[in-house]
Symmetry: D2
C-alpha cells in the first residue's frame, strides 16, 4: 500500500479534474478509475452563480483532494495560491506547480525549491511537480517534501515517458514516493512507469480528453495494477538474442512423441 | 470478442507452455491468465514413463490447444510436425513456426508460405509465426491462413515491440486477426500492442521465467484488457508542446476564488 | 574499400536520381556527394523530344549506374524491367525492387527471391531491396546475389533506422555487403548505419528533397565517412551510470594544484 | 561561425582532456579533431616532479582552454575551484560543473545557479553544465551566462541524446549558444545534436576511450560538420507512409523507354 505523509492509498492512480466536458463526466470518470486522490486548481467564481457544484460531490465521493498551484509563475504566487487553497479546500496538502513558461509548462527548479521550503515551514504536505531531475529530487527530499512528482514529458503532450532514463535514477535514489506526473498519454505508459518502480502516476489529459473518459479511466486502473504487480513479481532481463520457449532439437526424428 | 476460424475467444491473451519450472506452475499460471488458447510443442516420450501428465490437465482446463512446429527448419519438417501434432492433440489448429537459424530464431518467409499452402490444403487452421513483414502477411491472407502472428522482437528476448512501425502497417492492412508474438517481455508492451490495434498477443517467456509466474500471468491479463479497452475508447493524439490541464490565467489576481 | 561483384567503390554512399527538381541539380548533387553508384528507373520517352539529356552526363561523370525495377509488382514484371534496362543502360547490374503495395512500398519477399534466382541465372549482378529480414537475406545470399539492400524504414519516409535491431542481425550474419536502403532522412542516420557495420547506405529522398541538395549531398558524404571510420576504430560500450572524465577527489583540499 | 562571449570558433566540436592513456595521444587527438576549445580539470602536483608537461603543449597548440570545476559538490567549492583555475590557467573562462552525486554525476541546479551568479559578478565567462532543463537554462541566461551546456545523458555513459525532447525546447528558447555536453558516445549522436540546432557539442569519453582516439577524433569532426551543414540546409519532414523516389506507373507497358 502507498503511504504519503500520514495517508494511505489503495490505488496508485492519481487523477485530475481538468479538461472534462462536464462535471458529471469528471465525477463518473474518477469513480471508474478508483483513484483515491485527485488534483484540482482554482478559478474565478461565476459572479452570477456563487454556488459550488463541483467540490461538494468530489468531497462526498471520498477521494482526497490535492489542490494545485497551476498558473503560478514564481514562488510568491505559488505560496499565495497554496494559502488560499488551504482555506478554500480545508486541506494542507498541495501540489506545488510553478511554470513560468506557458508554451511547454516546464517547472522552475529554483522557485519550486524555495516555495517548498516556505510551505513546509507553514505545515503544508508538499508534493512538488518537477522536471525529471535526480539532484533536485534529492534536495527536495532533504527539506521534507512528502513525495516528488517528476514529469514524463510536457503536460498534456501525451508523449509518454521520454524522461525514462532519468526517472530510473530518481526512483533508485528516492526516499519518498515518486509519482510520475505529466505527459502520460496511454495506459501502456502508465504501466511502464509502475514497472520501473514508480510509486504512482497522475493522469488527467489522457482520461479527460478521451472520447470515452469513463472507459479510459478503467483502462488506466487496470494498467496501473498490471505495472505495479509486475514490478513486485519482477520482470525478466532483456537479451539481444533469442531464447527458445519450445524444445527445438531432435523431436522430428523420434518415433515416439508426447506433448511438452 | 475475438474470432479465429470458427472459434471465439473472450481473452486476447494467448499463452505458451514452455520454460515453466514444473507442470503445476504452468497450469496454475495459464489459469491465472484467463487465457483461452495456449501453444505447445512436442518432445520425446520418457521411455520409462509413458504417461502423459501434461496434456490431460490442459485439456481438462478448457483452454484451446495450439500445437506449434517449433524446431522445424523447413516446410517439409513443419508439415510433418503438423501432421503428427494433429494426430496427437486431436486438433487441426497449428502454429506454423519455421526458423532455420538457432541464434535468433527468426522465421523463414519462403518456407512458411509454402508450408502454409500445403497445410491449408490439408484442412488445417494455420496461424503462421512471421517477421513483421506487411507484404508477407498479405500473401498469407490471400492463401487462407486464419490469423497472422508477426513478431515484436526475437523469441524470448524480452525486447518488446521493436518492430512497432511495421506492426502498424500490418494492422492497417490485415483482414484476419493479428496476434503479436515473440519478444513481449513486460505487461506495458502487451498493452501497447493492443493499443495499436493488434487483436491479441502471445506471451510465454515473460510469464514462465518470472520469479512469480502466477502473479505475472495476472499482470498480463490486466494489461491486455487495458490496452484493448483503450484502443476501443480511442487514445488522444501526441503533441510536441504542452497543453495545460488546469486554468492558468488570472486567478491570482481575483479576490473571489472557487475550485475548478 | 567496398567490393560488390568485381567492382570496387571508394565511397560507401550510394545515391538515386529521383525527385530532383531538375537534371543539373541532380548531377551536381551526385558530384558533391562523391558517390560512385547511383540508381535510376525508366520512364516513357517524351514523344516530342527523343533526346536523352540525363543518361549521357551521368555516364560521363564516371558514376556507376544501378538500374532499378521500381514499379514492378511481381517477379515477372521485375524480370522484364531488368532485361529492358540491361539493354538500355548497357549494364548487367540491377537493383531488384518489387513492391505490390503502393502505400508503403514494402518489398515482396517471395517474388523477390524468385526473380533474383531467374536474374542470376541470366547473368545479372543482383542487389535486391528487401525488408530487414535476416532469414530472407541469408536465402538470397545462398542463391548468389551480390549485396543485400534491407530497408531502414518505408521508402521516402525519412523515419531513419526503425529496423535497427534487425539490421544488426543481418550485418552479423551477412557474407555479402549490406547496403541500408530506404528511409534514411538525415546524415546522423546514415552515420548510425555505418557505425552498426553496414557496408554502405543508399540515400535519395533526403538529398533530392532538401532545399539545398548540393549541401545536403556533402553532409551525407561526411556522415558516411564518420560512421565508417568510427566502426573501424571501434565505439565504446554503453553504460547505465556515469563515468567521470575528470578527476573528482581531493583537489579542493590540496594547496598545490596543476592542470590535469 | 560560433561566437561565445568575445571569442569565435570555426569548429563546433569541443573536446576534453580526461581519460586519455597518455598526454601525447591526448594532444594528437585534439589536433586531429580540429577542436578549438578543450576543457580540463585540476589535480595535485606531483611532489617529485613539479614540471608541467601538459599545459604548455596545449597552450602552444592554440586551442582555447576551458577549465572546469569537476569534483565540486556545491557552489562554494566550485567558486573556489574557479578562482584557482583562473590563476593557474590565466583565463577567466570556466565550465561550471557541480555534481553532489558520484554515481550519476548529475548536476545540481540550485548550486549551479548560485555559483554562476557569483562568478559572473567576479567577471568570469561562465558555461554551466546542466540537466536538459529548459527553465533553468532560461534563468541562467537571464543572469548573464555565456552558453548553456545541457547534458545528453549521464557523463561517460555513451547513451547519447536520451534528453532529446528537452534539448529541442532548450534550443528553441535559447538566446545564448547551446553546447550539448555529456553522454555523446558516437559520431551519429553528435551529428544528431547539430541537426537539432545545437550550436556545438562537447565530446571527451567517446574519443579518449576509443581504441583509436585519433581516428575517432576525426570521425567526430566529420559528423559535427555534417550535422551543422544539414541543419543549415534544412532536413525534410518525417512521414508515416512511403513516398516513391522512382516513377512507378505505366512504364512496363510502354514500348519506348528512357532513363529517368
Amino acid at each position: 500500500m502507498l503511504t504519503i505523509a500520514d495517508h494511505q492509498f489503495q490505488s496508485r492512480l492519481f487523477t485530475g479534474t481538468g479538461k472534462f466536458s462536464n462535471s458529471k463526466l469528471m465525477l463518473d470518470s474518477i469513480a471508474a478509475s478508483e483513484s483515491q486522490l485527485t488534483t484540482l486548481a482554482m478559478k474565478r467564481i461565476d459572479a452570477k452563480n456563487g454556488t459550488d457544484d463541483l467540490m461538494q460531490p468530489l468531497l462526498d465521493s471520498g477521494v482526497k483532494l490535492l489542490p494545485n498551484t497551476s498558473g503560478a509563475r514564481n514562488a510568491k504566487e505559488a505560496i499565495f495560491a497554496a494559502e488560499l487553497s488551504r482555506e478554500l479546500f480545508k486541506t494542507n496538502w498541495v501540489k506545488l506547480e510553478i511554470h513560468p513558461d506557458h508554451r511547454y509548462l516546464m517547472p522552475d527548479p529554483i522557485e519550486t525549491l524555495q516555495a517548498a521550503k516556505e510551505l513546509i515551514g507553514q505545515g503544508f504536505v508538499v508534493l512538488p511537480y518537477v522536471h525529471a531531475d535526480p539532484v533536485l529530487c534529492c534536495r527536495l527530499q532533504e527539506i521534507g517534501i512528502h513525495a516528488v512528482m517528476p514529469l514524463g514529458s510536457p503536460i498534456g503532450s501525451n508523449q509518454g515517458l521520454v524522461s525514462e532514463e532519468f526517472l530510473k535514477i530518481i526512483i533508485e535514489q528516492a526516499h519518498v514516493p515518486v509519482v510520475v506526473d505529466a505527459g502520460i498519454g496511454a495506459p501502456s505508459q502508465a504501466a511502464r512507469a509502475l514497472e520501473l518502480g514508480a510509486d504512482a502516476v497522475l493522469v488527467n489529459t489522457a482520461i479527460a480528453s478521451s472520447s470515452d473518459p469513463i472507459t479510459m479511466a478503467k483502462c488506466f486502473k487496470y494498467a496501473v495494477n498490471a505495472g505495479r504487480l509486475a514490478y513486485e513479481a519482477g520482470l525478466g532481463g532483456i537479451s539481444t538474442r533469442a531464447h527458445n520457449t519450445s524444445p527445438l532439437t531432435g523431436f522430428l526424428h523420434d518415433s515416439q512423441l508426447s506433448p511438452v
